[in-house]
Amino acid sequence: MNVCKFANFGLTAIFLLFVLFVESMNAQLPRERADADPPVDRLFWASSGIGISTVESVSARNLNSTVKHTFGLVDGGIDRFFGLDDGANTRLGLDYGFHDRFSMGIGRMTFNKLVDIHAKYNILRQTVSGSKPVELAVKTSVGINTFPGTGRDFSERLNYFATVMIARRMGSFSLQATPMYAYFNHVSGNNEKQLFGLGIVAGLELNDRFSLGAEYLPVIGDKNPGTYDTAAITLNIDTGGHIFQLFFTSSQWHNESFIMANNRDRFWEGKFRFGFNIHRVFGF
């Protein structure tokens, strides 16, 4: 009988504790994420790689400044200081994020004194949950050859570019396929007025500070005479404020249209050059 009473008392005590516990749990606020399906973080470390644009967007009200350099061929040896004596093709660029998904920018490079104006829009963001398995962005650009004394009128100096960037991050590895199209209003000799390419960009994050990257840009279909597909490898360094990209590439040009049109060096035959890019973002 005593055992029975003790059991009853025990059951009641457990019930009471349970009620109090549940009440206490209910009293706290339920924890809810602001964005239940957040996007994947940082597929690539910069909005443009060595030569190919990436799906990485410039955040709203941020200004991304870039300085890009490529030097002469490394096989010039010590006499040419591995290409650094041969002069650099330098591009200075600014990209402003009007929205987290939309940016516009302008850049100017040494070769052809080429000015490019471009816009990029992120249509789709890859999500952590996998509900959106890929990141998708489009970019269009107009290039203006401002080199003096060529005798060309304004329209002959223009070229146009469009690309779709499809990328996915898988763990610390990211891969982007980049079909692209370039059109030149004026070409010399037997060069093609329009070029198609399929850029491949790969990134491997080693840790928060270092990542490796590679790019390959084959021209699909007719190529300009004497030109070859472009390849490049890079080491990316995130210093907190800046992203540095130290790379070897076969092409000395800095945007996709002219990489496809003008690369005359074969990476796999040792015809590559050193270059480095610096990216810095400012908030406004």
Binding site: N8, L29, A60, N62, D238, T239, G240, F282
Partner: protein, 184 residues
């Protein structure tokens, strides 16, 4: 005997419910802010997604913030912050505790208060006391509080390279208007 005991418990619970105010104070749009220092530079990040509850009957103070809502004005830096705080695995900064000082609910004056409880960030929980102010205005409670968070206490490695690192001490500030809401 068992039935009688359960009846007494139920009556006891019922009586307790009756003497409560049946009012809690809640916000889902409080402001949270941190100030970080790096050599030669200071930056601030903030969020207006601070969720909070103050229940005087239960003497419960419960706040949380989804850390991925913090914005510092530079997207890339925000992503660095989220990584540093490991937001994917530990998305919330949370405080759950109770008022450790008195508060006169019938006064509309600004009153200094202190709360003591558990603060959790980066998956690490520490017992802390936070001082701040509370002011009752009509059906609202105005709350402000400031304290210093030492990153080392929460196993957070200050981001940076060599000597250029974020200071371990972060200044935290919260400000919220909590509206009265009937207990459900």
């Amino acid at each position: 005997m068992n039935i009688l005991l359960s009846l007494i418990v139920s009556l006891f619970c019922g009586v307790c419910e009756d003497v409560r105010q049946d009012v809690v104070y809640i916000t889902d749009s409080g402001h949270a802010e941190f100030t970080s220092r790096v050599p030669l530079h200071t930056f601030t990040g903030s969020s207006d997604h601070l969720h909070g509850l103050i229940d005087f009957d239960e003497n419960l103070v419960d706040f949380y913030l989804d850390l991925s809502t913090l914005k510092s004005g530079i997207g890339r830096r925000d992503r660095d912050i989220y990584r540093t705080l490991n937001v994917d695995d530990h998305p919330f900064a949370e405080f759950t505790g109770s008022l450790s000082s008195s508060f006169d609910i019938n006064s509309s004056e600004i009153q200094q208060v202190a709360v003591r409880g558990e603060f959790t960030i980066h998956g690490v929980t520490r017992e802390i006391t936070i001082e701040g102010t509370l002011q009752k205005q009509g059906g609202e409670l105005h709350l402000t509080a400031e304290w210093i968070l030492d990153l080392e206490d929460y196993d957070i490695e200050p981001p940076g390279i060599l000597f250029y690192r974020v200071d371990e001490e972060q200044e935290l500030r919260i400000e919220a208007i909590l509206n009265s809401s009937s207990r459900e």
